[in-house]
Amino acid sequence: MDYQKKIAKFGLEIGAIKLRPSDPFKWASGYFMPIYNDNRMFLWYSEYRRLFAEGFAKIVKDENIDCDIIAGTSTAGVSPCVTLSDLLMKPLVYVRNKPNTHGMEKQMEGMNVKPSGKKVLLIEDLISTGGSSIAAVNAVRAEGADCNYCFSIFNYGLEKAESAFQNLEPLCQTRSLLTYKILLDAAKEENYFNKKEFELLEEWESDPFGWGKKHFPQKYNN
């Protein structure tokens, strides 16, 4: 079994990834969606922490990506970033959503000097609508460093996020260990859902923001 499906199956098993086509989740944005993801639940399993790092390292090597510093988004991206930077023996920083208000804290923590011209690889746990990832890329760039790659454990593949990364100047490329398509394939292999539910899940991909209203209009009236 390839490692991506292994991650998908284990994520479903431990509840780090939840698929509920018939009883969707309400996201913070107010939309009802059939998926929920909390990759922090993988932290309990050292084998998976290692597997994520090896998966990321393989992408770096296969694509021959230049990388001087590994950056993790605070807080959920930090642990995966640490395991990767330990494996590659690279400097590590973490990036906050916004600068802290007190003392000497900065938006980017871990370096005494500005990383001007350094190639920073950003690690996210999840790329959803892309808002926090884009903010992190911009924070790294504001320090004078290059940030042209953002890796994630999971990427929902939402158009909104894709175009936000594409529209950056220069653009930032995303690579993800797990995609929605791989997740659905894994769920199918394990017979998690009936045919009707799989159809609902497949439909979500083509119109994620219209999906909830179409299938669960009553939820939006409450």
Binding site: R49, R50, T75, V78, P91, L92, V93, Y94
Partner: protein, 220 residues
């Protein structure tokens, strides 16, 4: 060379420990102090991240400490707890300062909010720094509230203020502290090298006697 000396020297070299007697620092808790410690600056150096983890692991094996789970405090304890948990191949969680005002977020991340995974597990808490001890107390209580045992707190650097020592000892059961470097060890290293001038050393000695009233005395 003892590892605490190595860590002290390198920390002073990279500015992870700073002393500014004439322009003191505002600590998070509001105190004005002539010393500032930022262990995040070690993150740039993978060999030190590794050294910290190896030193923590050595304490565990030397003292034969029971350890099922490694916990880091958010944010700055997370990196060091991760490297240690990876080295020991142990489960990892992290503890936020408090759960209030975070809505969906749990104070303990890495387990489901309803999960009983921590019950009777021996959890070692990893802090980058122990100053007043407040965040440590908060994290220990969060772990204990989830029915985990938290009887050891490891840190990279510890000021060993009486207030924090007292807090750790007053817990029931007490939580024992092990630190890779203490302020007094650091001061010895700094005093015997050229890091501080005579005046700075005098000031630090003065500060050490009554750290929380030092700034008032000197009208900062």
């Amino acid at each position: 060379m003892d590892y605490h000396k190595k860590i002290a020297k390198f920390g002073l070299d990279i500015g992870a420990v700073k002393v500014r007697p004439t322009k003191p620092f505002n600590w998070v808790a509001g105190d004005i102090m002539p010393v500032y410690n930022d262990n995040r600056l070690f993150l740039e150096h993978p060999s030190y991240r590794r050294l910290f983890a190896e030193c923590f692991a050595k304490i565990i094996s030397d003292e034969n400490i029971a350890c099922d789970v490694i916990a880091g405090t958010a944010n700055s304890g997370i990196p060091f707890s991760t490297t240690l948990a990876d080295l020991l191949e142990k489960p990892l969680i992290y503890v936020r300062k408090n759960s209030k005002g975070h809505g969906m977020e749990n104070q303990i991340e890495g387990i489901d909010s309803e999960s009983d995974l921590l019950r009777d597990k021996n959890v070692i808490l990893i802090k980058d720094l122990i100053s007043t001890g407040e965040t440590s107390m908060n994290a220990i209580n969060a772990i204990r509230n989830k029915n985990g045992n938290c009887n050891y707190c490891f840190s990279i650097f510890d000021y060993e203020f009486p207030v924090s020592k007292n807090d750790f000892e007053s817990l029931n059961p007490p939580c024992q502290v092990r630190s890779l470097l203490t302020y007094d060890q650091l001061f010895e290293v700094a005093k015997n090298s050229d890091y501080f001038n005579k005046q700075e050393i005098q000031l630090l000695e003065e500060w050490r006697k009554d750290p929380f009233n030092w700034s008032k005395k000197y009208n900062f």
